[in-house]
Amino acid sequence: MNDGVNGVALAVFIFFFVVVTVMGFLAARWRAAENANNLDEWGLGGRSFGTWITWFLLGGDLYTAYTFVAVPAAIYAAGASGFFAVPYTILVYPLIFTFLPRLWSVSHKHGYVTTSDFVRGRFGSKGLSLAVAITGILATMPYIALQLVGIQAVLDVMGVGGGENTNWFIKDLPLLIAFGVLAAYTYSSGLRAPALIAFVKDTLIYIVIAVAIIYIPIKLGGFDDIFSAASDKFTKAGAGAIAPGAEGQWAYGTLALGSALALFMYPHSITATLSSRSREVIRRNTTILPLYSLMLGLLALLGFMAIAAGVKVDNGQLAIPQLFEDMFPDWFTGIAFAAIGIGALVPAAIMSIAAANLFTRNIYKDFLRPNASAEEETKVSKLVSLLVKVGALIFVLGMDKTVAINFQLLGGIWILQTFPALVGGLFTRWFHRWALLAGWAVGMVYGTWKAYDTPSGAQRHFGNTADIPGIGEIGYIGFTAIVLNVLVTVVLTVVLRALKAPDGIDETTAADYTADAGDPGVQVDLPPATAGSPGGH
């Protein structure tokens, strides 16, 4: 597949890598507060980010290196069905617009750092809060692992990943270095590091996409030729298509909707949201974030270009890096690879911070050390963010890559099961805490079992679409699981209410959900009052 090390590309890649590393360490001083030793500061950047920084931060963690590698890879392999990522990211923003400002307000009022904090406060149930925390951590780990897979793909194509025959240590050394750097600056700078680096990442990615989307089609003879080549390939292979047939449409729609619902339940999207300065910032962002969806759509088309360019790889993940190397001059290949590599570091950092916040707040503090001080919380969070990354590294090095991808798929199904507790809780207190817990359990079990039971391509397990019981269409398993989950929750709530089962204590009030910075009648842009009081209760 590759012949030796691509020296020029590697030099450019290393240059950018060094630049962002320096930025990562300097980030600790950027917009710093007097007291860096509380979790608001390290884990939410002091909750001080305005519209543009939030935009970069959210974009930075929702559109990851893995997205940039995997979406075109799916198109390369199967055609139209891989394009569901575009409607999925279109649907995310109306959802964020509707739900997250309420979460921002109530979290800001009560000093919540994680979704579990909110669930515990709203339903007065530590069990439910624990379920949400564990789901979040479980779903995030393989996601981080996939970021490392993205870096690995780039390193492989550059020829520094080593062949199959080299010693494992030499082979994985570049990845270990990248990983060490990431771990070090996340530890020292917290959320400020990825926020700052996201500027570089997005600039690079925009440049690469703009060039790729103009330069490659011209070289390949226009979109007409590209799509006819792809069409030929799919017809010959007897799999995949340019437009989905009638039987694939339910799957397409439910995948888009289910993934959209899941995306903003992930701890890292919540972290990025809560770090913004006001609820207005979040709403304003939903009007400019779609710029990324456009970018994603264009990127997806690269999958077809890889087919037309005659890229042949066994591992679909390598299709796009290989396309870049075949098409671009070496120095620009270096820039493109740096974009993907840095695109992996930013989300990996945010995700590990989010998972660490969950552990510290909702497992360590709630169950192990209730009297932990703010300083201790921050210390534990920093350590856990390291552990989470080491776990992800072991995942990538120790197991087959398809395992990481399978778990990421499962993670999406899992995280979706926290939807009734979180979003339901944002609007109503009607659901009973025990019913929510039961619904969650049913959704988790059904989703895991069904995914395990469904073949995926050549594999025997872990497909993500299966028959939806009752309507005879193929659909996203996560979607079926969430419907089941909601049904169980509603029925049990009715039963438990009839039995007068004891309700938890709700520490929030209706007004908390609409409060804004500087509300009422004060300036809009005042910094939120929480900065000095983490977990103010």
């Binding site: 394009f83 409607p87 617009f97 030729d225 437009a243 759509g297 088309l301 009422p520």
Partner: protein, 86 residues
């Protein structure tokens, strides 16, 4: 802020601007989940099949709709605050 600052004579929960904002937010769901309406190759645009350019067209359209919803909701909020007698 105290928990119950409900001023007398509050505006109703459902108001025309809110309904309009809701419609703006729901429209992308109707457009995108009705897959049958766009699962076809023709007409192509500069060689790109309908399926792809149509969905990408929805990106700016939905962004515009969300912006409209944003303006409507903000105006509504200001009106509510004004109604409190500030």
């Amino acid at each position: 802020m105290s928990d119950t600052s409900t001023a007398p004579g509050r505006r109703p929960v459902v108001t025309p601007p809110r309904v309009l904002a809701a419609l703006c937010l729901i429209a992308p769901f109707v457009g995108m989940l009705w897959v049958g309406s766009y699962a076809k190759v023709e007409p192509t645009f500069i060689g790109i099949p309908f399926f792809y350019w149509y969905q990408m067209l929805w990106v700016p359209v939905s962004a515009a709709l969300t912006s409209v919803a944003y303006v409507l909701v903000r105006r509504e909020q200001r009106a509510r605050k004004g109604g409190d007698g500030a």
